[in-house]
Amino acid sequence: MLNLFSQARHAARRVAVGAAALALAGTAIPASAQETIKVGVLHSLSGTMAISETTLKDTVLFMVQEQNAAGGVLGKKLEAVVVDPASNWPLFAEKARELIAKEKVAVVFGCWTSVSRKSVLPVFKELNSILFYPVQYEGEESERNVFYTGAAPNQQAIPAVDYLMANEGVKRWVLAGTDYVYPRTTNKILEAYLKSKGVPAEDIMINYTPFGHSDWQTIVADIKKFGSAGKKTAVVSTINGDANVPFYKELGNQGIKATDIPVVAFSVGEEELAGIDTKPLVGHLAAWNYFQSVDTPENKDFIAKWRAYTKNDKRVTNDPMEATVIGFNMWVKAVEKAGTTDPDAVIPALIGVAVPNLSGGFSAMMPNHHITKPVLIGEIKDDGQFDIVEQTPGLIVAEEWSPYLEGSKDLIADWRSPMNCGNFNVKTGKCGGAGK
């Protein structure tokens, strides 16, 4: 490891001054470095995203402890290296580089927002490492070095809309989101999907708000107005975490009940609901691939261990946690299969790995680096948990390239040989996108 400072001491004095500024070396690497496999944790512990990401850091630490208790991997103990990218996107890239180049981690679990993933992407490609990304996202991506264990839009949004159409008879749709890529893309896909189901344009209202929007009076009133046109109306919410609490509080204040205008959200889970009085929200929905209320022995066992680990018998679990757990187990399995932590061996080994998920089935890593998932629809209960009202019968394979978007409808991803491509165009038969 670099330790310019001590070296420079022997050099000329002038150099020492310069070198002191360059002495970026952190703490010295422990002597046992050779005997452990390092696992990087790249989640914000401060700043705006700490609210969501801190739990995932704890999850990885928990999984590392569990794995070490079970004997580690390839006979070595795992060692978690935690950094704090502080909700700062360039810092994500810097920390990713530090984890891979300086700490020499074998794998990184990290990121929440799309922009943080986009920020670290070139780093993982350049330094050839592995990132497990555990959050539902807009899709439109498949990279060799990234494994996506969260939902693609077809694993969350479309089943939710199907449920509302079939079970609630919804005819009119409000697509409300925060103005960033995930809601934009999800709403584009949903708009195309709804139109393909015969919903006329005047029955779709799309609304975007800035991050952290806190004054929802006007927009909730607009939704109320839109919903009083005589047709059953629902809100599909891709509102980002922070803005949800004031949004739901305003819904409650203006007396919009789930039986009048149900809201189905894709970013509201147990963790977010912990900050809200859910009594006025009973019946509003969320679509995820996991809920804490999933009634399986695996889940009960997981929750018990998790609570024991965190020494908090009220600690909740949520979907991105499950995605982290699945990703972690897949990586362990792939490393055992490959017999090494070398990314070039682990990346191909990961494809086809299947591990049990917490909702009673198996999730498998597909050639597009996304996993198969069941989709669950839950209604909010007054205790902040979800009542699962629908579960897809089988597992759904991720459509990383949405067939409902112009630019991506001809693209597929397959990281197996011989294709080895994240954006293969089935029309032109070439790797490298849609072209023009």
Binding site: T27, L45, V82, P122, Y208, G407, G432, G435, K436
Partner: protein
Amino acid sequence: MSTTQTRQPALLGTSGLVFLGVLVAAAVLVPILNLAISPDSAVHVPTYVVSLLGKYLTYALLALSVDLIWGYVGILSLGQGAFFALGGYAMGMYLMRQIGTRGVYGDPVLPDFMVFLNWKELPWFWYGFDWFPFAALMVLLAPGILALVFGWFAFRSRVTGVYLSIITQAMTFALLLAFFRNDMGFGGNNGLTDFKDILGFNIQSDGTRIVLFVLSALALGLGYLLCRFLVRSHFGKVLVAIRDAETRVRFTGYRAENYKLVAFVASAMLAGIAGALYVPQVGIINPSEFSPANSIEIIVWVAVGGRGTLVGAALGAVLVNYAKTYFTSGMLAPYWLFMLGGLFVAVTLFLPKGIVGTFYEWRARRRERDDIPGESPGELPGEPPLAEPKPAA
């Protein structure tokens, strides 16, 4: 550099020489230690450290630009990050256009985020950015023109003190909101990423990183010389005079607003250059660079290093960011905000003139004691008087 120095000996003081010396040493040593030394050697500088250092240097240039207007003119801009980000976006747009068909959709013209959102053609303001000289010009002009327009209004109307600070904050906040909008055509929250080439060189190769690092060092050195030249000139003396007694300057027949405007625009352009060098080294530009908190942080760097000393501003930027890098890893990660916050409080209480300012003061006192004539009193600006607090209601 040595020629400048002989031609104009007054341009550099001892601290300036040390500063430039360290900069030159870094610009020479780091590439050698990175490229010519085996990676196994203990003195090898890994590439990620090179990029990190390059990033610090661009921050130092940014801090320098703040010190020029805050330290010497008394304009506390809480929106300097906006100029930095605009320079960065201009460079980012160039880099985006260089991706060509290598984007995930393979579209030869449109960047990925436009394809993704079903845009059909390139918006007009993206024209020309595929040509480097144009982009380089925009690195200067985009922040420069914004500063010109904003400053022209604000200084003519004699908006000063906290009022000016708050409207610069409002400016960067408005830009933040605007750039977050996906409809703006700048990639929304995701910003611009996934750059491939700069001027035909692979942006991720060690060689390119080294060149960018050296360029950053060069820009910082030249930026320092420029600022130093400006503040030592008659023009610069008027600036300090405006900071200390603006009314007096007006009664002496100077158009204070024009002086402020020139300094403000120069500072914005320096910030723009810093942004343009920053983007290829960190690989992303996103609207959060416009966030008011970022701009406040820049002020904090300058204050830590020593306001009105130029060298101090650069030093403060490097120190605070190094502290950030250091504290956000390892055992300290959960507590780094305590340390950073504590550092700011401690500096304010115990080193009110910042690190370099305090050093100058100590040196001046020692000289006085030893009866050595002062070197350059211009390096020791006092705190400009702030308007007395007003009574309520």
